[in-house]
Symmetry: C2
């Protein structure tokens, strides 16, 4: 690919003049500007960003790391980030960590080596992540996305997970539910999930209700009815469950319906995240919505500010309760409906 020097030669000017034609056109006489531009198009010249980055000691690139792109929460947030970054003239290097701390470490290392101007990371657990120590002796601005902030830790942007889940729980309580459970992926792998469970317990206790032990599913985004079945029987059976994320809630609803359970008549199911798809389903998914678009946008804006040397304020972004048909009043009869073993249509 043609370089600046060949353009300059063809135009009959020096490299410096050719460079200025693109960087600061107003400092070049119209006549020579034309000559250079002509030469450039003739040679299909395309400035080499790598050289520019080396020279400028800045890449106009932001490194993004998310746990997965198979969860729409991250995909939708990333989409918003990409649009915002592009508007500001920045590109995104995108990586996935699979919630694996050692991969998190390697990825950050690599992005620093690439000299990204900033990092937007979503890690499994912010407090004891290995990347923290790496980053705290670096000058590259770094922002945690979705992770909760910690005193003395990295700046973080997202909702107040604890308060949000507490609010979700209160919503169910206000509808009359007393036996409310919480369903999560394995091990409360992420710090957000832990905070959400804490918020749930807090709201339960506030109302003199007994927080239930966590109902753990073997997978993060896929419900196993068998894990929930015990809690749906007996006199104290649950009338509502909160899920740590929407995909889990949606798949749980599917499993319940397949077992001839009715949602919300037999069991109310509430999600967390507020992914778009939830509104399209029937019953539509009641969920505590995280403003994913806003989070993505604000993350980029804040990161750009940090790159400029500022310390932007990073308040919690507002969560919002989204009503949905998957949640209703508790059933009046205390008799448990029959839970059949799921029947699948796929042979």
């Amino acid at each position: 690919m043609a370089d600046l020097l060949s353009v300059a030669k063809l135009a009959g000017v020096s490299r410096a003049t050719a460079s200025r034609t693109f960087a600061t056109p107003e400092r070049v006489s119209p006549a020579t500007r034309r000559k250079v531009e002509d030469a450039a198009t003739q040679l299909a010249f395309r400035p080499n960003k790598v050289a520019r980055q080396l020279r400028a000691r800045a890449t106009k690139m932001i490194g993004v790391m998310v746990p997965s792109l198979n969860n729409p929460v991250f995909a939708e947030q990333l989409h918003a980030m990409e649009v915002a970054a592009r508007e500001a003239g920045y590109s995104l290097i995108v990586t996935t960590s699979g919630y694996d701390p050692s991969r998190e470490q390697a990825i950050v290392e690599e992005m620093l080596s690439q000299r990204v101007d900033g990092l937007a990371l979503t890690v499994a657990v912010a407090r004891d992540s290995a990347v923290l120590t790496t980053l705290q002796r670096e000058t590259t601005p770094c922002l945690l996305v979705y992770n909760p902030p910690h005193p003395g830790g990295l700046p973080a942007i997202g909702v107040d997970n604890r308060a949000a889940m507490a609010e979700a729980t209160r919503h169910l309580i206000a509808l009359g539910h007393r036996h409310i459970g919480m369903v999560a992926g394995p091990l409360l792998q992420s710090d957000r999930a832990r905070l959400r469970y804490a918020g749930y317990r807090q709201a339960m206790r506030e109302h003199g209700l007994a927080p239930q032990p966590l109902i753990e599913m073997p997978r993060h985004t896929q419900a196993e009815l068998a894990c929930l079945a015990p809690a749906l029987a007996g006199p104290n059976r649950l009338t509502a469950v909160l899920c740590t994320n929407d995909l889990l809630a949606i798949s749980l609803i599917g499993e319940l319906q397949r077992a001839t359970f009715s949602v919300p008549d037999d069991l109310s199911v509430m999600g967390f995240d507020g992914i778009d798809l939830g509104r399209r389903l029937y019953p539509s998914l009641c969920s505590m919505e995280q403003p994913r678009i806003e989070i993505g946008r604000a993350a980029i804006a804040s990161l750009l500010a940090m790159i400029q040397g500022q310390s932007p304020p990073l308040p919690f972004l507002p969560h919002a309760l989204r009503e949905g048909e998957s949640v209703g009043a508790p059933p009046t009869s205390r008799q448990a409906p029959t839970l059949r073993s799921p029947q699948r249509n796929t042979p």
Copy 2:
């Protein structure tokens, strides 16, 4: 951040030796190697990829452009691409085009300027995309993903959309359906959607059935029941519909159910793409699955081969019919069920 020269100084060697310590350790004596390594850790040295990229005239970066990340088809494929690329030591620059041809053009231009080693693009319409002309006079390897191949055009990877939709149609016909419609987003914006419509018509005619005019929805991934309602009334009302993508199918099912329609008893609904979520729902979504993971992986592998100067074969990847509860035999009675206006739970 420390550079090679400071490491060399601290270790008491030349820049060249320091460089070799990392590039070709076997060509450095163990003693000096140790010294350099110690100096490197002491200074927290991290090689500057930008400089390396400039020098090597190769970036080990691949530029990826997708229409959107809000559709799981692209997000899931991107996830697979990221994993595959990382394994091969490549990074991904990710951009979204929003199906906008002018943005497509600008994005490709920018990535070429960044000197990515290869491009993986999903464009709206491959044949008359402006990027084609740009790219065909470039040497940077480029691969179209999901777009159909064209003679003399860019290499492309994906399924045979026409054959796949024909097969989907035949599936419905085999179940006894005779009045089958097709639902799509606005304007058949993408070349894939057009091919799918062609496949549908072909299969219909093969069986002596009349292809129906396309039912266009105002949005790509969100169904409006009003657009479909006319086709659900009268003696020749549809008993099954094919949707150009899964999100459209899912939202259509939701709308139908909300209007007290039963799927599949009153209307069978089939999707296209086979996103993971479809299997979790009840009724589970019957869909023609594109092997998104495999497409992502193969795209990277093929692109790497192209970067090596090879011309890998690019056959269609196999699509697969995924059975699901959203499709069944046509209703026996020809009387149309009542279609109520949708009732939402959200005030």
